[in-house]
């Protein structure tokens, strides 16, 4: 199974980086992304880039953005390009195919996030270090790596599950948009909460231990991710993937 997962991931990345048939064309998008988030943003933020805890929220959100840009294509794209049926007619196992599709989205989103962090660290040190090494605190770094991985798995699990039964990439993207809107709606209701509640929540967050919050968030994501992957596995039935 590991060899099959590796083969499909090899194919996914070849396709991803060969947009319009050329490696250079596909790679330019990635380079622009790294330039924006790994060079431009740290230069604008300055040394605060490694000190502000807000960075943690940003790095947690970034892999979702990256992963969701590729997951709609995983099955719906193959279906649209008429390659899914031939892939299903091969001897790859159901589980290997699903794991490979989720895995390649995670590797893409999380890998690019880490690449951005590393490039960002080099950028701030080159531009602002003045002889001192500027580094994210170890706890923050660990939190970023852990949470961003869990968020990447969340995005991949959600996107691949939706893409499994979507007839087209556009349909998959629309469904993902609706799902995310439903998830985000509670955030819009926050300002409407009574002032007393908001003050109490703010006090709770500011007094709480960062490590405890991170652990709780990570645990919540871990449960959600596990449930999502199990749900995707239960929906993945080779004999039901040909929709027409």
């Amino acid at each position: 199974m590991i060899a099959d997962v590796g083969t499909i991931m090899w194919k996914e990345f070849k396709e991803l980086f060969h947009q319009r048939g050329r490696f250079r064309g596909g790679s330019i998008g990635v380079l622009i992304f790294v330039f924006g988030f790994g060079i431009l943003m740290p230069l604008q933020t300055g040394p605060g880039w490694v000190e502000s805890p807000i960075g943690l929220v940003f790095w947690a959100w970034l892999p979702y953005l990256l992963v969701s840009s590729v997951t709609a294509d995983t099955f719906a794209g193959e279906r649209e390009r008429h390659t899914l049926e031939t892939m299903l007619a091969s001897c790859i196992s159901d589980r290997a195919l699903l794991v490979a599709k989720i895995g390649s989205a995670v590797v893409y989103g999380w890998g690019l996030t880490i690449a951005n962090i590393l490039v960002g660290l080099v950028t701030v040190n080159v531009a602002f270090s003045e002889g001192n090494l500027l580094m994210l605190p170890p706890a923050t770094m660990l939190g970023i790596l852990g949470i961003s991985l869990l968020v990447a798995v969340f995005g991949a699990g959600l996107g691949v599950t939706i893409s499994l039964r979507a007839a087209t990439v556009r349909q998959a993207q629309q469904t993902m948009g609706i799902v995310m809107f439903v998830v985000v709606i509670p955030l819009f209701t926050l300002p409407m909460l009574p002032e007393e509640w908001k003050a109490r929540a703010f006090q709770l967050v500011t007094n709480a231990d960062l490590a405890a919050i991170l652990t709780a968030v990570a645990a919540a994501f871990f449960v959600i991710d596990t449930a999502l992957v199990l749900f995707a596995m239960s929906r993945f039935k080779r004999a039901r993937l040909i929709l027409d």
Binding site: K14, H18, G21, R81, H82, A239
Partner: protein, 311 residues
């Protein structure tokens, strides 16, 4: 090991109210070329999908190479190659990468894989263009590559849905030779669907005709022609007068007479003696140069089957 490559019993598949495959019972011997003929939407592609375990049957069962398609689909797919309705090639990848992907999925060792890829690409005249992305290629070249892909892992059974579609006549003839050789030399069973009845007649030991999901006929092309086609007598000569034609049409064994100026085609009931028709014509003043007794071709047999089914 079973001597049947494919065996189905009452295989059916419904899509809502539509029955795409209806009570299909087939037995296809290993090492033969089987042609599955039928108009568009007859159920040919659905049958292939069922046989590869890509769809669940609504009723009945099927065994491919001795494995149950529902419970042992992985075993079936491991031993089969398939060129389906669409070529299924990854157009952003090169020809080499497309075959590399297939070879890796079938766990062919690296050295063997590379040798086999070179052998097939060379055989199909694609080796020089192996590093080009497939999206840039013509339909015919893609079709050749897709056919090459089906043979990469030396399967025991190959499903080919319209394999010569998009190929030029020379390439189509070469592919037909390859397929015939696959069956005779390597014992590979070939299950192909085609609209090209001449192709089916040349290539297939047995054919099945399907319409609206139901199997109308099954047998060798000769058997199908015998049972469904009308025998023909083709006469070349001069002096085909109206009187001679009227005399022919009045004979009970004659079904139809067409042509007239230098060439006459007489359709007869099976078992008709040609000599009596020839003497009738010479007696009516016709000078005969050549008489050719022919069977109906597969195309006529096919059309006749479809017409009968429609009644």
């Amino acid at each position: 090991m079973s001597t049947w490559a494919i065996r189905t019993l009452g295989l059916s598949r419904d899509f809502g109210a539509l029955r795409a495959v209806d009570d299909l019972s087939l037995e296809i011997t290993q090492g033969t070329v089987f042609g599955f003929l039928g108009p568009n939407g007859a159920g040919k592609t659905t049958t292939i999908r069922l046989l590869l375990g890509l769809l669940e049957p609504s009723d009945g069962r099927a065994q491919v190479l001795g494995y149950d398609v529902q419970t042992q689909g992985d075993e079936v797919r491991f031993r089969c190659g398939a060129l389906l309705e669409h070529n299924g090639l990854y157009e952003r990848l090169t020809a080499l990468d497309n075959l590399e992907l297939c070879g890796r999925l079938w766990h062919i060792p690296r050295a063997e894989r590379q040798g086999r890829i070179q052998e097939l690409l060379t055989h199909f005249g694609l080796w020089e263009r192996r590093k080009e992305t497939v999206g840039q290629w013509s339909r015919g070249m893609k079709q050749k590559l897709a056919v090459a892909r089906t043979q990469l892992h030396r399967p025991s059974l190959v499903f080919l849905d319209e394999p010569t579609a998009g190929l030029d006549p020379v390439a189509a003839a070469a592919l037909r030779e390859d397929l015939a050789a696959l069956a005779t030399r390597e014992g590979v069973t070939v299950f192909l669907t085609t609209h090209n009845l001449t192709e089916a007649e040349r290539l297939c030991q047995r054919v099945g005709v399907i319409r609206q999901g139901r199997l109308l006929a099954l047998g060798s092309p000769n058997e199908l022609r015998r049972t469904t086609g009308t025998p023909k007598v083709e006469v070349t000569g001069t002096g085909f007068s109206q009187h001679a034609l009227d005399l022919l049409r009045a004979r009970p064994e004659v079904v139809n007479v067409t042509g007239g100026d230098g060439r006459l085609v007489i359709e007869t009931h099976p078992g008709t003696e040609t000599a009596s028709l020839v003497s009738l014509l010479t007696g009516a003043g016709t000078r005969i140069e050549e008489v050719h007794k022919g069977k109906a071709d597969l195309e006529e047999a096919f059309l006749s089957l479809l017409e009968e089914a429609e009644k």
